[in-house]
């Protein structure tokens, strides 16, 4: 029997073909102890490869996607809040800056006839209403696209 044996690292490297050397092969033919160790490593590696892979008691995809959908909804809400905040601020700012000009604007209406004033006001309101309806419709269409078609969690 040989007095010098192969190290565990050498045996593993040889087995996994990470290291090939004729001296290892020739040693193995003469040393039963190293051969035995090699067989044990072979058995170990074979057994590890036949083990069942880890599984969870829950489904990963719906769980992960639900969290992402929730995150997206929160993000959208936050963005909407910022958007409406900025809009409100702008409206207030514009209104504040407009105060000195209000008497002058009113003076234009007083100068013309009642019919003309009503016509201008009616047209203005109609255009404003039309724009408002259009904005709401566009917003709803976008919301449907995001939440109904895209953010449905996979079950």
């Amino acid at each position: 029997m040989n007095s010098i044996h192969l190290t565990d690292e050498m045996l593993q490297a040889y087995l996994l073909k990470e290291f090939q050397d004729d001296t290892i092969a020739s040693h193995l033919t003469t040393c039963s102890m190293c051969r035995k160790k090699l067989e044990e490593y072979q058995l170990l590696i074979d057994s590890v490869q036949t083990m069942k892979p880890e599984t969870f008691s829950f489904n990963v995809t719906p769980l992960a996607m639900n969290r992402i959908v929730l995150y997206e909804k929160k993000k959208t809400k936050k963005q909407a809040l910022v958007y409406w905040g900025i809009l409100a601020f702008l409206l207030i700012a514009i209104a504040s800056f407009s105060i000195p000009f209000i008497p002058r604007i009113l003076a234009i209406f007083y100068a013309t006839s009642v019919v003309a004033t009503l016509l201008v006001t009616g047209t203005g309101l109609a255009v404003l209403l039309f724009l408002l309806v259009d904005i709401i419709q566009q917003y709803k269409a976008k919301e449907d696209k995001i939440f109904k078609n895209n953010l449905q969690p996979i079950l």
């Binding site: 565990d8 593993q12 102890m33 892979p53």
Partner: protein
């Protein structure tokens, strides 16, 4: 959906998601869940913690998807997030990642080889129990290398460890497993 996803390249999927196709991320989850399960499942045992970790991992991946530079496979990048998130969790819980408590490694005395044929049927069962006793990092490395059959380079990208360190840990883990299995049979023989 998984099959469809396999045909799409990482770049196509990522671009699609970044362009607003959030549902496309489900393909990414499907394609990577096995690898993520191996990492999280091997390092943690509590089902609730595993649920939280899986959600955190994919949320992080989703939030940082725009920073993915295609230098590695998308699955490797997500596995890296899974590994780091799980390591952080273990560190918070003060669970040692590589520490081996009272292993039989140095105490092992070589005994006669048990009849290999007889032990083959039992070994997988014993091995499963012995792997469960390994430190989290060793368990993960063994799984990634032998079960997922990932090359050392890819494991290195996932764990941020040098390839030499990974090899060294793998040698050590296999030796511990071999010695513990031998010890198990030695006890049975007594």
């Amino acid at each position: 959906m998984s099959n469809e996803g396999n045909h799409l390249s990482d770049k196509a999927i990522v671009t699609s998601i970044l362009n607003g196709n959030i549902q496309g991320f489900a393909i990414v989850v499907k394609n990577t869940e096995k690898l993520v399960t191996q990492i999280v499942g091997k390092m943690t045992t509590n089902a609730d913690d595993q649920k939280d970790l899986v959600q955190d991992i994919y949320l992080k991946a989703y939030q940082h998807l725009s920073s993915f530079q295609f230098k590695s496979k998308l699955s490797t990048w997500i596995a890296n997030i899974a590994y780091n998130t799980t390591i952080n969790y273990l560190q918070k819980k003060k669970i040692p990642i590589t520490g081996i408590e009272d292993t039989l490694e140095d105490k092992f005395i070589a005994t006669d080889n048990p009849a290999l044929e007889t032990i083959k049927t039992e070994t997988v069962e014993i091995l499963t129990a012995e792997i469960a006793k390994l430190p989290p990092l060793y368990k993960t490395l063994i799984t990634l290398y032998h079960l997922e059959e990932l090359p050392n380079k890819e494991i290195s990208e996932i764990t941020n460890l040098p390839e030499g360190t990974i090899k060294s840990y793998l040698y050590r883990a296999r030796k511990i497993l071999k010695d513990n299995i031998n010890q198990h049979y030695k006890k049975e023989q007594l």
